[in-house]
């Protein structure tokens, strides 16, 4: 089938228990009450001409093209604003309508260029389609009058152009920016003939405006006014494939619109249940890294890390690697080997890497990047609720009345979900918007942005999450605001009483803890009361919760709060970890942690292990393996010597860079399997080139546990002469080089094995996903179609006892990272919208125009005390190390707190972060580092020596001239 756009039904879907039947052009159609005539006509297979309507926007009624005739009604109502009624008889194509529509189109076209043949939207333009539909042949007004045809285009955005000469002033872009994205960056400036779309204020272009480049306006535009530059350069796509974005944990699905093996554009898929047709700048536009010149396309090896790399064939590389691994295993034992799975790779690939480590290497030394982000979620939610999973689907937010956001910055890190959340937060006369509580040291955008304002912002001192949540619990318990019926019905009452006694103690009152948390006691009381009494309360949290020495305690404190207020087990409530990377949930589900097999079964569980041993025909080590920080410690004492790292850059992403570097340097065989020579590869002996998400088939599991297909749209570019392999094929080839005899013909067979060995995935297969679109785990006998919301009839924990919810006493234990005279400020770290994680992908796209370097945010008072100004170079020093970067003076951060992002290797923010970590999981404490800031005039010695070392370690040997 050739290329066609997704169907547009004109106005949004409505739900109603009542069905209405009407006749449209003689066809009988039944639709829910409240549906518009336009949508009903589209559903019945008809097509009413339209320009200003789109089914992801509220009806607007401005273009006057969708007029219809209705028996018994006067005039010609607009079908987009006319609701259906029982027995209605509608005519959509009559001579009278034809004449009216032709007149409307004639006016539009009189002020529109007639360059259709050379226009980039040729054959993909709604204006052109409607001109054809109404049979427009002539424009009686001529073209000599005043027009907008000469207006200059705004090409400031790197991904799309705005050409006002082609604009028909339908306002779809403005409404998409308002309703879908919630940024309100666009407006219709002027009136009548002077009406013009304007980004920001007069004088702004798209780049200078508040535009976040989500692409919603581009998608909404019916003409070539707002269009992707890539379409202009390449031409119209010829086919499309539905696939899943490889950036954050929202897991948006896209139509990859292709011309041959070239991506023309990624358009969010309207039927995607995670994103419902919306996108952000990363997924929509930042996929150019796949073809970046830095991409390594050939396997490479070297004897020692001071040598240049040698490009070799897959065979040579794999044999070299297998020989080294086998030699190390023979000499030092299986426990000297390990691997790291990637949350950026598919479930199938992740499962295979942990299988290679457990069954091939013979150790349980497998860990995943979730160690440094959401391992406390795994521990905390398993302890309290019984399983490591967010409780809700994203749609649940539509039913929330109070939204508590703690340690998360959704508009930057989970932008598409943030747009959903903002839509719920915007006051709506009919539905009443939800109230918002933000607990964050920094004034994130959600606290105050167009049409969204937090009822409470509690700007706590970094590191005091547990104290704040315990104080909230104190208020809720002592003021009698708990949901006792829920607790008696679903939780262990004795444990609850122990917990209630603990939090009720005076020392946990907001007034006493104010000295520690720096949160106003009255605000905290207000926030606690609002959460407990405001209706459906939902908690959303991110790495600001987990990346602390009390990360696991904070997760449990959140779970306690949800249980105490009865906010679990139905739409609109719940505990929602916002996962950082696309497949964090999946990587955890797949048995990537050293102590558990897929489906969260402990490695010491004999029956679980026996299942795998029988299937894999190998004996498994019953003892837990090393976690990433433990691997590095063990490397330094010589007992850990080989590491296979798939799709991870631990040197840049893990804390205390010096320590990571020393650990890697001590190893004899470091295998990096990635797209680029990342920072970790500086210490590698083997580089196995990876494949992008566009080059593979498999599944990702997003933050709402939704398993979705990733589909190959082009051949892997990671092998010479068409010898490219998907990442699971590379792992399989390495396993076979070690003599394991694996024979998966495709990634679907790996999923079949996962389903066979993992009860919560029992009902999952690629065929089933193709058919259903997506499934939310658990998908088992009890939930054959998946589980949008968990713990509906009782907590998963203790299935035989309905009262499975476990209250856990979480005592506030201050971190050992303390400020003092030498390091008086607290540094906390985070993300920004346009960049992703360590930036390996986004830095290799034009997203760098928004964030070309990491900046240090500092309060004006602190800056003034140090004589520092906006844009100054400063030295950021902690007890661990120091780096330099430029300063941004802002009151977003409180005095005493500084903030930066970690997207650029030149800054190396993790040179300063410490090795303190979560007590239960060793998740690093990225969010609290005591630092001092002083003036500086350039990069530190470490930055300079690192740059030179990095350049040296990335040399590739020049191949010798051929003999002849």
């Amino acid at each position: 089938m050739g290329y066609e756009r997704q169907p547009d039904f004109g106005t949004p879907e409505v739900s109603s228990a009542t069905t209405v039947t009407l006749a449209i052009d003689g066809r009988e159609v039944s639709v829910p009450l409240g549906t518009t005539v336009m949508r009903a006509a589209a559903l019945s297979g008809g097509s009413i001409p339209k320009l200003c309507a789109s089914d992801n926007l509220a009806q607007f009624g401005s273009c006057r093209l969708c007029l219809v005739e209705v028996d018994g009604m006067r005039g010609t109502p607009a079908s987009c604003t006319t609701p259906v009624a029982e027995g209605m008889v509608v005519h959509t194509q009559t001579p009278r309508l034809q004449k009216l529509r032709k007149g409307v189109m004639e006016l539009y076209i009189s002020d529109h260029p007639l360059d259709c043949l050379t226009c980039s939207a040729n054959n993909d333009c709604e204006l052109q389609d409607q001109a054809a539909a109404v049979g427009l042949r002539d424009v009686r007004y001529g073209y000599s009058g005043e027009s907008h045809l000469g207006l200059a285009a705004d090409t400031s955005n790197p991904y799309f152009d705005f050409d006002p000469s082609k604009c028909i002033a339908c306002s779809r872009c403005v409404r998409a920016c308002d309703e879908v994205q919630g940024t309100f960056a666009l407006t219709m400036d002027g009136r009548g003939f002077a009406s013009q779309i304007s980004a920001g204020q007069a004088g702004d272009d798209f780049m200078a405006s508040d535009c976040v480049s989500c692409g919603a306006c581009v998608q909404a535009c019916p003409t070539a006014t707002l269009q992707e530059k890539a379409v202009k350069e390449i031409g119209r796509p010829e086919r499309s494939v539905i696939t899943t974005c490889a950036y954050c944990g929202v897991g948006c699905t896209f139509r990859a619109e292709m011309r041959g093996e070239q991506v023309v554009r990624m358009v969010p898929w309207k039927d995607g249940k995670a994103n419902h047709g919306h996108s952000c700048v990363k997924g929509r536009f930042a996929w150019g890294y796949a073809n970046h010149q830095d991409r390594i396309r050939s396997p490479m090896i070297r004897e020692t890390i001071d040598q240049p790399w040698r490009e070799v064939s897959w065979d040579v590389a794999l044999t070299f690697t297998a020989d080294r691994l086998t030699a190390i295993k023979t000499q030092y034992g299986a426990r000297a080997l390990g691997g790291i799975t990637s949350s950026r790779c598919t479930n199938e690939e992740t499962f295979l890497v942990q299988k290679l480590v457990r069954a091939g290497f013979g150790s349980n030394n497998v860990d995943t990047c979730a160690r440094v982000c959401h391992s406390p979620t795994g521990y905390g939610l398993k302890t309290t609720f019984g399983t490591s999973a967010g409780t809700q689907d994203f749609d649940s937010v539509d039913h929330s009345d109070v939204i508590l956001v703690i340690g998360a910055n959704p508009t930057d890190a989970h932008p598409v979900f943030a747009s959903r959340m903002k839509r719920r937060l915007r006051a709506d006369a009919k539905n009443g918007g939800a109230k918002l509580i933000v607990i964050d040291p920094r004034r994130i955008d959600l606290v105050l942005s167009p049409h969204v304002e937090a009822a409470y912002h509690l700007p706590l001192q970094p590191g005091t999450n547990v104290a704040v949540l315990t104080a909230m619990a104190h208020v809720i318990v002592t003021e009698g605001l708990t949901d006792e019926a829920f607790i008696r019905d679903r939780c262990d009452w004795d444990e609850y009483q122990d917990w209630a006694r603990f939090v009720s103690d005076d020392r946990h009152s907001p007034e006493i803890l104010e000295a520690v948390t720096r949160v106003s006691a009255s605000d905290l009381r207000g926030a606690a009361r609002l959460f407990a009494t405001g209706g459906n309360g939902a908690i959303y949290y991110g790495l600001g919760v987990t990346e602390h020495s009390q990360g696991s305690s904070t997760v449990m404190a959140i779970a306690n709060l949800a249980m105490a207020t009865g906010n679990v087990g139905r739409p609109g409530v719940g505990v929602n970890p916002l996962r950082g990377q696309n497949n964090v949930q999946g990587a955890c589900d797949m048995g990537s942690f050293p102590h558990e097999l897929s489906g969260y079964r402990h490695i010491s569980d004999d029956s679980a292990r026996a299942l795998f041993e029988a299937d894999w025909q190998v004996a498994l080590d019953p003892e837990p393996g090393l976690r990433i920080p433990n691997m590095l410690d063990a490397a330094l004492d010589g007992s850990f010597r080989a590491l296979y790292v798939q799709g991870e850059d631990i040197l840049q992403s893990d804390p205390n860079t010096h320590h990571v570097a020393a650990g890697l340097k001590a190893m004899e065989c470091v295998i990096v399997h990635d797209l680029f020579l990342n920072e970790t590869a500086d210490y590698a002996h083997v580089f196995l080139p990876g494949s992008t998400f566009l080059e593979k088939t498999g599944t990702f599991t997003n933050a709402e546990r939704r398993i979705q297909m990733v589909r190959k749209v082009m051949e892997p570019a990671n092998g010479p002469d068409g010898g490219g392999m998907e990442d699971w094929q590379v792992t399989q080839a390495l396993a076979n080089a070690m003599g394991l005899d694996w024979n998966y013909a495709n990634s679907g067979e790996i999923m079949d094995e996962i389903a066979r060995l993992t009860p919560s995935f029992a009902g999952v297969s690629h065929a089933r996903l193709d058919q259903a679109g997506s499934l939310q785990w658990p998908v088992d006998a009890a939930h054959p179609d998946g589980s949008p919301i968990m713990h509906v009839d009782g907590f998963v924990r203790g299935p035989n006892d309905k009262r499975g919810g476990k209250f856990v006493v979480t005592d506030y234990v201050p971190t050992d990272e303390k400020t003092g005279p030498r390091y008086p400020l607290l540094l906390t770290t985070g993300r920004i919208l346009s960049q992703y994680n360590v930036g390996a992908q986004t830095r290799r796209t034009q997203n760098t125009v928004w964030h070309g370097e990491d900046l240090l945010e500092m309060h004006p008072t602190d800056a003034e005390n140090r004589g520092l100004g906006d844009g100054d170079w400063v030295r950021l020093a902690s007890r661990t190390g120091e780096t330099t970067l430029r300063l941004a003076v802002t009151d977003r951060v409180a005095a005493g707190v500084v903030y930066t992002t970690f997207h650029h290797p030149a800054t190396q923010a993790n040179v300063v972060t410490t090795e303190f970590s979560d007590w239960a999981t060793n998740c690093p404490e990225y969010k609290v580092t005591a630092v001092q800031i002083t003036a500086s005039n350039g990069p530190t010695q470490w930055q300079e020596s690192y740059a030179s070392w990095s350049a040296k370690s990335r040399r590739t040997a020049v191949p010798a001239d051929p003999a002849e």
Binding site: Y332, G333, A334, R335, A336, N364, N365, F502, S549, Q550, S553, P594, H595, H602, S604, E623, P624, G625, L626, R627, N630, D633, A634, L636, D637, S639, V809, T810, D811, V813, W919, A920, T921, N922
Partner: protein, 76 residues
């Protein structure tokens, strides 16, 4: 393995569980180490100078390894 680091980790676990009362904290600390520590970490902790540990962590170690084992876990 760096013994000081292992001690720090064991003490940190104990500190976070201390609010449950000594007996419960000792049992939970011991269980945590059993469930999440790799054999060479356990061996290093059990063979180390226990006097350097906080009371709860020390009691948990005593419970897991009443006497110094001659063989510190399985050889790698």
């Amino acid at each position: 393995m760096d013994i000081a680091q292992l001690h720090y980790m064991a003490n940190q676990i104990a500190r976070n569980l201390a609010a449950n009362g000594d007996e419960s904290a000792i049992a939970a600390t011991a269980q945590h180490i059993t469930d999440f520590w790799e054999p060479r970490m356990k061996a290093g902790l059990f063979a180390s100078d226990r006097a350097a540990l906080d009371p709860i962590a020390r009691a948990a170690v005593e419970r897991l390894a009443p006497s110094l084992p001659p063989d510190q876990g399985r050889q790698c």
